[in-house]
Symmetry: C2
């Protein structure tokens, strides 16, 4: 993990009077240690001087490939006993807290609501189990919510993280460029999504990512018109000639998430689609021009929204123009929030998506979602295609 | 939702002195209401007489397709304000608890550790936010952990659930039967997994499932030898002629999960593979013969393990012979646990996987994982292929 980021974390901890952070949500473990846990039962301990990871024995090899910090293994399963998953992990947790001299510490932890991207098809959730255990064993410890601090820390990426996101976007780009031939009338949305995934798998070959999770969605015709919900959905609908076909992808590369949408036409483009496409392209350009360190989320949103409003699509752009991505996808709380009410201030190294869109409920919709990084002077487009 | 299951839930609640259950983990919302939430921010309230669901506005239509219980919508996003996800949901939660007369109730909730399958690529986690809110607004309410009760309730499926799991296994079967042609030397594991997913998408056509999530994994050669970890992993490895190629799938059909593995050979089968295959088939048959209501998990595990031990593979069968599936996949805590130390008693309507396997670390591995339902007299094999 880059030193810059460790400094940021330690400075935030000092600002809150925290001696340590203890986190188990995979996105936070990734931020604190560089390792993206699989089963979500790993625990990161981050102090003013040390970073350690408690990890299930069957993930030690994976973790070692990503980080050089001390790893402490626990046995998540055995044949000679039924393992209690909380007991298995709290034994080394207690031992490490003691070894690090944290018996009386002020410890920041994950307390309330988060949006956590899937690290695997099933995830371990400790809920209140870790906090309860720490409080019971170390009555002198002060547990304090680190929720907001963690959300804000995730906004700024190191150069190393940016390099990975850039590369991830490059892989996804090839899936989009090659997948487009799958958009044929007569295919179902599900088949189209699968064909994009297949192209994505081909694009992964030779890339430096060990763990790739890809989620492609296809929403066609009227289904694209309701794609402004919090989630994307692929259905069984048959694609028809002349349909708008929205393809959305969230792919994860060693834990770094992308958030990209393109909207295609199955067949010849109609004039009303061309008009929408032009307006969305101009909205995007206006937003890109507004991005610079010091600008607020609301200013960037305004730049995009104004273009769509003037083109007559104001009521059809039903969500914010973007949100932070990288440690998470599909998280409207991700910093910076590019939203009409957001005072979030853009800083160099932040990454977010930019998603101008036009939805006509019951008819069709179009979205163009890019990934953007904030540079010293403006915006770097990570999805230049 | 079937009445039988509601009776079971209410009888379990009565046994614990609970007036209500308040659950937000998607697997529990599914069990209590029939709806498999997408963003995982829905909340089910289950009392002695009522079942209600608090659901984000953009999922109401989805939820309505699955359940006829009262739905109470909240707005998870807006343009005129930055919505706090906890405030958005706790307003209707407080109102409904009041309307249902639960201000002084004993309420069971999700307290500590669970394994939750992914309802979407990102999931809302409330952690302690709901409990804190309830305790603050209703100081007379007694919150009580319902963790163990919920885990046990998930074991017994209704006839309707069984019908869905049967159908899901049928869809997955076609993906396996058609996907096998993808197992060719020269393909990467990732391409093979994608080709199985594509076949799975084809199999879904015309099926009654609205929401299907499919996760196929391919582990070949030495990678199959370490497939005894808690998770499956697809890598970039090129499949070589003569490799064992393990294909594992966890697919979800409207929230009902399957757990299936088959091991193929890329090319001609070697004698040592044939010997393993025979032993695994006999282990499976022995386990199936041991399954009946009243038998324990350890007896079924013993039946399979004994065959593998006698064939000389004892040390190579490194995990339990199975675990409950349906509401979850890849959950070794799923009831009934088919494990050397499990006293879980099999009952009609329970479903689990049966996964005799032989692993040679660093060399190769073979697993045959079936889905099984317990009938009045024995076992029904849901994956008869």
């Amino acid at each position: 993990m880059s030193e810059v980021s460790q400094e940021l974390i330690r400075s935030a901890m000092a600002g809150k009077g925290l001696d340590a952070l203890v986190c188990a949500l995979p996105m936070h473990v990734l931020m604190l240690t560089g390792y993206w846990p699989i089963m979500a039962n790993s625990i990161a301990i981050f102090t003013a001087k040390e970073v350690e990871l408690i990890v299930p024995a069957d993930e030690v090899e994976n973790a070692r490939a990503y980080t050089s910090i001390p790893l402490h293994a626990f046995e998540p399963a055995a044949l000679d006993r039924l393992v209690n998953p909380v007991h298995a992990v709290t034994e080394p947790l207690i031992a490490r807290l003691r070894a690090l001299g944290l018996e009386h510490a002020r410890i920041g932890h994950e307390s309330e609501q988060f949006l956590q991207p899937a690290s695997y098809l099933t995830m371990n959730l400790y809920n209140s189990a870790l906090a309860q255990c720490i409080e019971k064993v170390f009555p002198e410890v002060k547990l304090q919510s680190a929720d907001r601090m963690l959300e804000e820390l995730k906004a700024r990426k190191t150069e190393r993280t940016l390099a990975r996101l850039r590369r991830g976007c490059e892989v996804a780009k090839h899936a989009f460029l090659n997948g487009v031939k799958a958009i044929e009338p007569g295919y179902t949305e599900r088949i189209v999504a699968s064909l994009f995934e297949l192209e994505h798998s081909r694009s992964c070959k030779g890339q430096p990512f060990d763990r790739v999770e890809s989620f492609f969605f296809c929403m066609s015709g009227p289904n694209s018109g309701q794609a402004d919900s919090a989630y994307a959905r692929t259905r069984h609908r048959l694609i028809d000639s002349g349909d708008l076909v929205m393809v959305h992808c969230n792919c994860s590369y060693d834990g770094w998430w992308t958030d990209i949408t393109r909207t295609f036409v199955a067949g010849a483009i109609r004039p009303e689609y061309q008009k929408m496409r032009d307006a969305i392209a101009r909205a995007r350009d206006a937003a890109l021009a507004a991005i610079r360190p010091g600008a607020t989320g609301r200013e960037v949103d305004r730049a995009a929204r104004q273009v769509l409003e003037r083109a007559g699509y104001g009521p059809n752009f039903t969500h914010g123009a973007g949100h932070g991505v990288g440690y998470a996808a599909a998280n409207p709380d991700g910093r910076p929030r590019i939203h009409p009410c957001s005072d979030d201030v853009l800083e160099e190294g932040m990454t977010f998506n930019l998603e101008p869109a036009i939805y006509f409920k019951g008819r069709y919709g179009m979205r163009h979602c890019d990934m953007v990084a904030i540079t010293a002077r403006g915006a770097e487009l990570l999805t230049d295609f």
